[in-house]
Symmetry: C2
Subunit: 598 residues, 2 copies
């Protein structure tokens, strides 16, 4: 086995050319075997095996620097840079991150998981090299799906101007997460059809040098093309055509559903249930909030022509399967990977009288801060944003943490951020938000699974007044505000305290942002202790807001929430434990504060 003998890229370079085909086969088998066991980005990684081998034979990493966009396609790169063991030893499978990681290897220059950053990062490395008077090559590898992100355009545009050595490999596999969206994809298709010779070349229009390579899954031709660019004195785009999922029939046949998967049977491709997959987007089975959302929206579209669902390349997440997309027709728009535009488009839609509902992962929503503030909130544009994966139970990679959402959306004047505790409340809130024309709404889709709470109180006047639901009125002088998906924890704490004879108030705040100021102040009428629970970062989040309002009063306010930082590949239960978001820890804090103030 060649792979076992590869400790550094120098070992790859030392192999004869005829070893490349079997080496690539070994890598491909290792990808399939590993993903079958622990899940992962099957399709993207199978497509770039030959390219990656060629990169490491031509360039001298880490002196030469290779930056993979998103870095979800770095499995082969990891195998060739000292980390093969994690892909061939069943006991170590999953031991390395699914993304680039400078902690793991000096061949990985950045932790990254969001798209479209590679050209800018690589350009920064190239400029730093020039300032230091050094001469190594810098390579960015970016997929076609990432090109629709404005940040990638900004990087290409600036690279053309700075005019220094930078090799930009456009890995064109004809797919984003779902199908590609945007005008430039027609250009890429023409470039493929003409072998790079079409008029109006997108890359050349920015002043970039450009080469086309048809067979991006032929290691030898990749190597030859890359070698010809080594040491070049200007930025150049090498557009290569690859086959997503190559070598695994199920992934070749259904690119969308094999972009990222959980464990599966490597013989048949049958997907296995159970086991939360780390690393990227998990396609969720039915009876999830994805399905609840897709079903609700599609049904409502039939009677409401102004309703339009917007996705930025993750339609599955909001339940828009290919069937539902087809059924929605013009009432569904996938803008491709372009979160900022998605939000700005929603502002235009809302001002124009339509009812846009944008579904997005919390971690990617971060890219739209300014669009939410300036395009949506400043204009009080009535849009609805559904925030998925914002929870300790979302994706657990540091690159994809979704739980800074409340802190971020707290900066949006006039935006109401609702946090439903259960399925019934989620649907009531969604129903309300779509029709409410008073301003923007976001809804924090519960991250810890679908919970039913038939007793939940749906307010008659809708969700505009910022008034929480009193779930239980206690007598002990302490109140627990259990936001959204922390309600089951709140219920448990109340029960535990009741066993000890302490009767505490339990509140469903409903509003992660937008809670009524006077209502919060009125908490001190009956309570001298206020405890907040949230499945989001504590600093700047819901609890901080409550603490700020009650700061000048005599109430003691203690917030429980997720830690401020970048926990990586964590176990959700461990994370909750370490920040005290457990029944025992919260209960004992309540007791202590009650005693201190009695």
């Amino acid at each position: 086995m060649y792979l076992e003998g590869i400790a550094t890229p120098a070992d790859v370079r030392a192999l004869p050319a005829q070893a490349m085909r079997p080496l690539c086969e070994e890598i491909r088998s290792a990808i399939i075997a590993t993903c079958a066991k622990v899940g992962g980005h099957v399709g993207p990684n199978l497509g770039v095996v030959e390219l990656t081998v060629a990169l490491h034979r031509v360039f001298d990493s880490p002196r030469d620097k290779i930056v993979f966009d998103v870095s979800h396609q770095t499995y082969a790169h990891k195998m060739l840079t000292g980390r093969a063991e994690a892909f061939i030893n069943p006991e170590l499978m999953g031991a390395v991150s699914g993304f680039a990681s400078p902690v793991e290897s000096k061949h990985d220059h950045f932790s990254m998981g969001h798209t479209s950053t590679s050209v800018g990062l690589a350009l920064g490395l190239a400029k730093a090299r020039d300032l230091a008077g050094d001469t190594y090559d810098v390579v960015a590898v970016i997929g076609d799906g990432s090109l629709s992100g404005g940040l990638a355009f900004e990087g290409l545009d600036n690279a053309a101007e700075l005019g220094t050595n930078l090799i930009i490999v456009v890995n064109d596999n004809e797919w984003s997460i779902s199908e590609d969206h945007g005008g430039i994809y027609a250009n890429l298709a023409e470039l493929r059809a003409t072998r790079g010779h079409t008029k109006d070349n997108y890359f050349r229009s920015m002043g970039l040098d450009y080469r086309y390579l048809e067979n991006g899954n032929d290691e030898a031709v990749c190597e030859e093309a890359l070698a010809s660019l080594r040491g070049c004195d200007h930025p150049v785009v090498l557009h290569i055509h690859t086959h997503k999922g190559l070598g695994f029939a199920p992934a070749e046949e259904n690119e969308e559903s094999w972009h990222h998967v959980g464990p599966f049977n490597p013989e048949t491709g049958e997907k296995l249930s159970g086991g939360r997959a780390s690393g990227g987007i998990v396609i969720t089975p039915p009876a999830t909030y994805a399905d609840i959302t897709g079903e609700y929206l599609l049904k409502r579209m039939a009677s409401d022509q102004q309703l339009v669902a917007i996705s930025s390349a993750t339609p599955y997440m909001m339940g828009f399967t290919p069937d539902r997309r087809a059924a929605a027709g013009k009432q569904f728009v996938d803008v491709g990977i372009a979160e900022e535009h998605a939000v700005t488009l929603c502002a235009g839609l809302a001002v124009g009288g339509a009812k846009p509902v944008y579904g997005v992962y919390g971690t990617f929503l971060q890219r739209t801060y300014d669009q939410l503030w300036h395009d949506v909130c400043l204009n009080a544009a009535p849009i609805t944003v559904l925030v998925f994966g914002s929870s300790a139970f979302g994706t657990t990679d540091a690159t994809h943490l979704g739980f800074y959402d409340i802190a971020m959306l707290s900066d949006m004047p006039g935006l109401t951020y609702l946090a439903p505790t259960c399925r019934e409340e989620y649907l009531a809130m969604l129903d309300w938000a779509i029709d409410c024309r008073r301003g923007p709404y976001a809804i924090r889709v519960p991250g810890a699974g679908v919970v039913s709470r038939p007793s939940v109180e749906i307010p008659d006047g809708g969700y505009v007044f910022g008034i929480p639901e009193i779930v239980h009125e206690g007598t002990s002088g302490a109140a627990i505000l259990a936001l959204g998906s922390t309600m089951p924890l709140g219920e448990k704490v109340v029960a535990l305290l009741a066993e000890k004879g302490i009767d505490v108030t339990l509140v469903n705040p409903r509003y992660a942002c937008g809670i009524d100021f006077d209502w919060v102040c009125s908490l001190t009428d009956e309570n001298r202790v206020v405890v907040t629970l949230e499945d989001g970062v504590l600093d700047g989040g819901f609890g901080s807001h409550i603490a700020r309002i009650l700061g000048p009063t005599n109430a003691r306010v203690r917030g429980f929430g997720l830690p401020y930082g970048f926990p990586d590949r964590y176990e959700p239960e461990d994370l909750l434990n370490c920040c005290g978001l457990t029944e025992r820890s919260v209960a004992s804090e309540v007791i202590e504060l009650l005693e201190e103030t009695s």
Copy 2:
């Protein structure tokens, strides 16, 4: 005078063709006279007079919808849509906003002031129109400078795919705020040189239809070109060439310094001092933080080849005049309007070993939330961000508020946000941040003018420990934490209370984000009242953070900061008054809380 007779665009359409030249002259004179009196965007507005008249003769606003990018060039549009009085009656000059405003007129569809949003917003309007089965035209007017923003690219790319009626007028005056930057500007130059016939057309590469118009300052030809596009069934780019500053010699000769100005002599162009200009970027005279910054950085560059200053189209703001830019050479990079790329580039530079210093207005920094979080903080990349205009004394238009910065940067794990109280401390912090390789720094450049405080304590070990400066140690049990530019207010409050026999502690927190947790807790050893002052939004800001930390203690915590919302064209003193950021209000709150807890 034609202008006096124009109440609606219908009045423009009713005029004979031969009235257009004198009407344009009237508009131009009104722009010059108004800006001479109250300041404004002289150059951009003078360049689009003919285009604007033509737009209102061809399209039927507000049924047809025109969206101006940034909307800093809407003076002629305002004059033709019922607001001419504000430009011709000296008593009303400045009565309308410098930007589009739906509150002012139904011809303005969005409040806006940040760049590159127009295509996305207009596309949203167009899609809403299609969903409603309506048929009006939608027009976006975008300047060449705004095209370097990735959001504009995302909008163009998606427009090409949605394929509906949308007329995108690219107003090419060959300038951003400073000179244009980025590879596409060579393409625009070629398109101008070839009258639209170059190979590799940027717009066509995305699949957009494209027309070129050379004389964009000829009203008749603009009208003809626009009329030919009316009602078209697909998106089309009309690239027109205009002359920034046309009709006012000083502005024609120096486009950069006449982009936005304060009051001036309309005969000579001599700029008058005094009077804070509202609306956009104010070019500041010497002895400002701009000049201090530019002087310091340029001097240091000579002995530090790794130091590189980055701007996103606002080099003046950080003191990089054309002379300093020339002197800095390769150590200065203007990426054009592309804030996101600027930050991602900085991450690459820092990881590559360079020392990037990025100067940016706080309001535009908003666009980089995800890049700061994911590219910079996740990688602990040692960059320095200088945040300008984040203050009640920054730009006072709702579109350009800069004072959400602390709330935003509080979400960035590992980023240290320093808030200097004076010039001496600013320079010490800047000096420290550039060399510190432990992670990212941002510095909140004081917004309320340059203050000297020779007694300021510069910590020996640098700014890494999160420990504040105790300016005065009091005995009354109350402490005032006066962040950054609120230190003079803090000093006054302390003096006022001293007169009443109350000796309070005064603290310079130094850290807007990154203050030491234990140090904050230790405040309660000697104090039962803690008051925070900040020249930033209170919610989610510095004071909220202190309140959260001290929530479980018996201390009373009262924060004073700016209101959460979109105050527009406000008087800074009024804003400070309304949120209690005054000597008397803070002092009386301290007294009250001391009494309540005694």
